[in-house]
Each structure stands twice: as C-alpha cells, then as structure tokens.
Symmetry: C2
Subunit: 340 residues, 2 copies
Amino acid sequence: MSDLEERPDRPRVVTIRDVAAASGVSIGTVSKVLNGRGKLRAETRARVSAVADRLGFRPNPLAQGLLAGRTHTIALIACDGFSRFSVPVMLGVEDFLAPEEISMFTCDTRDDPIRERHHVERLLARRVEGIVTTGRRAETRHGLGDLPVPVVHTVSRSAGPGDFSVVPDDRGGGALAVRHLLAAGRSRIGHITGPRRFLAAGQRAAGLTGALAEAGLRPVAEPLFGEWSEEWGRQAAGILLRARPDVDAVVCGSDQIARGVAEAMGEHGRKVPDDVALIGFENWEPMALGARPPLTSVDLNLTEIGRTAARYLLDAIGGAPPQGGVLTVPATLVVRESTR
Amino acid sequence: MSDLEERPDRPRVVTIRDVAAASGVSIGTVSKVLNGRGKLRAETRARVSAVADRLGFRPNPLAQGLLAGRTHTIALIACDGFSRFSVPVMLGVEDFLAPEEISMFTCDTRDDPIRERHHVERLLARRVEGIVTTGRRAETRHGLGDLPVPVVHTVSRSAGPGDFSVVPDDRGGGALAVRHLLAAGRSRIGHITGPRRFLAAGQRAAGLTGALAEAGLRPVAEPLFGEWSEEWGRQAAGILLRARPDVDAVVCGSDQIARGVAEAMGEHGRKVPDDVALIGFENWEPMALGARPPLTSVDLNLTEIGRTAARYLLDAIGGAPPQGGVLTVPATLVVRESTR
DNA sequence: TTGAAAGCGCTAACAA
DNA sequence: TTGTTAGCGCTTTCAA
C-alpha cells in the first residue's frame, strides 16, 4: 500500500494574501470584505468574495485569536472515562456551543489528579476561554484551584470556595417518584439504593422520605443501602419482601438496581406493576427499556445540565460577574409500564 | 449571589515580553532559554527560567502555531451521540495523543450530514492537523471528501476511495466464540443476532459459520436475524428452542440479545451454562456483568482501535505516505460464567 | 473607496 | 553570549 512516488501535495492552505493577490487589492481590503467592515464599493466586495470562495479561503483562527486575544474554544474535562454521566453533559454543552462557533476540547482524567493537573495546564496554555468539568453521579469534588478562566462544574459539585456547580436534583427526583406512586394509590413504599457514602444515594433517599412525610407517611422499611448493581437489587428485594411482604411499591436508586428488583419480584411471585410498582433512577435507556416490564425512571436531565453549564460559562466569559454556589436542574419522571 | 463590586481582575496572561522585562534580557534570549536553543550562560538560563516560573509564564501556542504552521490539535468526529461505541475509541485516541502533547477537539454530528459538513469546515478553519471519525458498529459510511489533512475512520469503514479505516474484527470475533464453545465440548450451536442489514451482524454470523465449517459442523439452525434488543433475544430463544430443543450453545450478536436469551432459557427450564452455554458480543460490561450468570462476551477492543487510529494519524501528519484500505483489529474473548 | 503599516506573541536568522 | 529584526496571518487604525 505504500508507494515510492512523491506524496501528492495536499492543497496548500490559502491565506488572505493569496486572495488579495488574486483579486488585485490589498490585504486590508480583503479583510474588510470578509468582515463586512469599512466602506467599499459593492463591486469590489462582490469580486473579492467571489475570489475568496473560489480559492476556498478560510481565515486562520490562530491569527485572528492572536490578535483579538480570543480563541473561541473551551474545554470539557471528564474524570470517569466519558461515562454515561459525562456523555449527556457533553452533548448539552455542545448543543449550546455549536451555534456560537465555539469548539470544545475534551479530555479525561481517569480520576487521576496528576493527569487532571496536566490537562488543565495544557488547556490553559492553549488559551481555552473556559472549562467545564463533569462528574460521576452527585458527589463532591475538589476545585481546580484559582484559574485565569471561568470554570463550571457539573454533576459533581465542587468543594472549592466560590466555585460554581450545576448539579442534578436527586432529592427532587426522589420526591417526584414518591408523588407519582402516591397518585397511583400506592402507600407502602420501600427504597433500595446504592452505597450510603454516595451523596446521590443519601439525597435520593431524603427526597423520598420527605415526600412521604408530606403525605403523613413513612417508608415501609428503612432504606436499604448497598451497591449500584443488579445483583444488589435482587438481594435487597428478597430482604425487603421478607421484612414487609405487603410492600406495594419500590423506588430504586438506579435502573440497574431496579432491574434486579424486577427480576427478584417475579421470582417471589410478585407481578410488576400489579402487585409492586417499580421506579428506577437515571433513566438509562438500555437498562430501563430492556427490563420486563420497561421501567418508569427518574431522568436527571443531564443534557440540560450541560446546556445550563455552557450558558453560564459563556456569560462568565462574556464578563458576567462571577457566580458561586450550586445550581440545581430539576429532574423529570419518565413513566413506563412498571408503574402503569 | 451577584455583587456590585468590580469583578476581581483575573490574573492577566503573562507574555514572553513580561518575562524579558522582569529578568532584564531581550525576548530573543527568553525564547532561547525556554526552548533550550542557542548558547547562553548557565546563570542566565537559570535566572530567566526562575522568572518565567515565578510569573507563571506559558507560551502562547497560537503564536507558536502561527509561526510554525502547526497547531498540535486533531479532531474526533462522532456521529452517534458519543455512544458506547465511540467512547472507547475516544479514550484510545486520547491515550495515544496525550503524551504527544496533542489536544483533541470533539464534536458529534447526530448522524446529520449537514452538521458533519459544518463541523468539518470549522475544524479545518481551526487548522486541526488530522481527523478521526468514529462510527456505530461496523457499517459503511461515506467519506469526508478530499481534505487537506489526513483522516482515519474507525469502527465504520469509509466508502471513500483511498480512505483509511480501522475496524473491529467481527468475523474473527464470531469465530473466536465458536472455537471456545467447541473446545468446551459444545457442538449444537445456534446464533441469534441483530438486523440483517447490519454489516456487523452479517460478519459475526459469517465468522461463526466459518469456524463451524472448519470443524466439519453447521449451525444447529439458520442464524436468527432480528433486533439488537433484549426483547428479541427472549423471543428468538423461544423460536430456537422450539426448532432445536437439543441446542447446547448460543452465540448472540450482542450482550443485550444474550441477556434476553439467558432470561428466556431460564423460563424454558434450561440452565446456563449447564444445558446451554451463552456468548454475547461487544463485552458491554454493565450488561454482561449484570446478567445471570455473567456473560462470556467477545470484546472488539475498541480502545485499541482508537490507539491504532491515533498512531496512523500521527504518522500521516508526520508525512508518512498515505494509506488506503481497511485495517482490522483482532477481537478477544472475555470468559465468564455463561460458558464455564 | 482603497492602501500601507503597525502589532498580536512567538521563533529563528543574523548582528553585535 | 546576547540583542535585534523579520515575519507567521490577520485586523485595525490612519493616510492617501
């Protein structure tokens, strides 16, 4: 496949000088045409643009940026191998950025602070104008330190003082799930979720108990903290059924857990949703749709978190006063067969 | 959260001039110190580096790039919303790029040619030095046209003449699965997979029948083409069992299908792996590990595909003669309980 | 209405 | 051993 012939020259990049020469004007004039600036004869404008088009001229953003001190780039730093938590955020950020003609560098730190530092250094050297970080489920993360550009943290909130974070509403999501179940006439509601050390698990549980309390109720049993896995869901369903055979609904801390619960319920002779209604969390479609029956699930709207983060970042880049604190994006409920 | 006070000035960016002034030398000297070029007194070097460090100087890569005509950036274009197929490739590309101090722009086309064109235009304007595309399962995609920079397509092969693609070995993966089953003493092997129109489905099936043929065998029944879903797995398992109750192993076109099959097998009174061994495809861990029992699965080594693509891209950027054609990265088998 | 020239931050060739 | 200068591609005065 290799060949000895000279490599065919790739088309040389066309500069403003080429356009000027080809259209017989100065580079200043070309610049004015391209930017619609200054006073020029219509005929000149037309002619120069035509030439620029014909030559396939694209202004070099490095040169533009050098002069303007801007790069129209931002960076997204993930820490979790672009997991299913980071990806929707990325898409949201991109959504918001693309029409602004801003490009996005991405990198992943694999949860390694050294790698993170390294990436931040390089990105700053490249003069990105802002940084978005993404996290894995709602946790608390360290800040990035005092940087010369605005930073927005997403999903995981930053512990750095004055830092700004956009996070999912785990608590509200838990409440949402409960209200849906109450409206459907369920009242003996259990909760099976991930490890206690996860902020997300605690908040989802708190939202659930809160919403039950509003209705003068309590969970049918103490929330069961364990793992984020299907296997834990299977185990915990057994534990719950043994303690409270009369349970008529379970809110799960993740769709994976909910799948495990669904399976175990069947094995214990309970029908979903007839005997026990089931709600998952995170609305991870391959999981939620593959379950039998398909799972009602709390959607944390991570893409919206990404859009929101991008909007704030652009505002900050534009000179808006710095924001600190945590902004929470509401969750929504996607209703499927497991609660119908 | 807003305040009326003046926004605290972010630290102004330090230029080579600042360093020169602060250390009482010319900018040329600073440049030599920073790049280790030229002949300078050791004392000067030490002093200037110290000042540069103290000031937190970072050379502006825009200026460097403008001069050198290089940007040390590449782009990755996904088409599938950074799906589980694109993400491992991204990580592989990043793996290979990071030590080279090359940064990666990413964008997603949402499978929209207009969006793709738009992104390509913008990336070229930014003078990326190369482009990697990622695809969703092995398909054939259109090329990007004649670009002034090298392009490597991954996962989906490009139909563009002279284009270079790095793709998974679906056929080899199918063969791998069969050989593993044969070695385990199974011989009545069925196949349940995705839609016939997918190249990946066809190749996996071909690999399977090929490896069986080598052993003088044929599939226990015609391969069942359907959907990539669990639901299809459940359905198809029933069909297969009705046709061939004596089947002792099933290779599935995806882990999702395999999960469905596993579930249905249980319902039909077949134990996995005792009665029927099961192999999935793609080694999508949340699916493969959550199944009961955990699934043996063919890993397509997408991260390795990413690394390989990055290596070729860098070579091409470095001036290696252009390659055309398709490079196949071998698959491997991850053995778990479903075949033990 | 157009052109000339300065300068963004940096490197490299050449002078001193 | 160090400084000076030109120039990368572009925008933006200011002159013509």
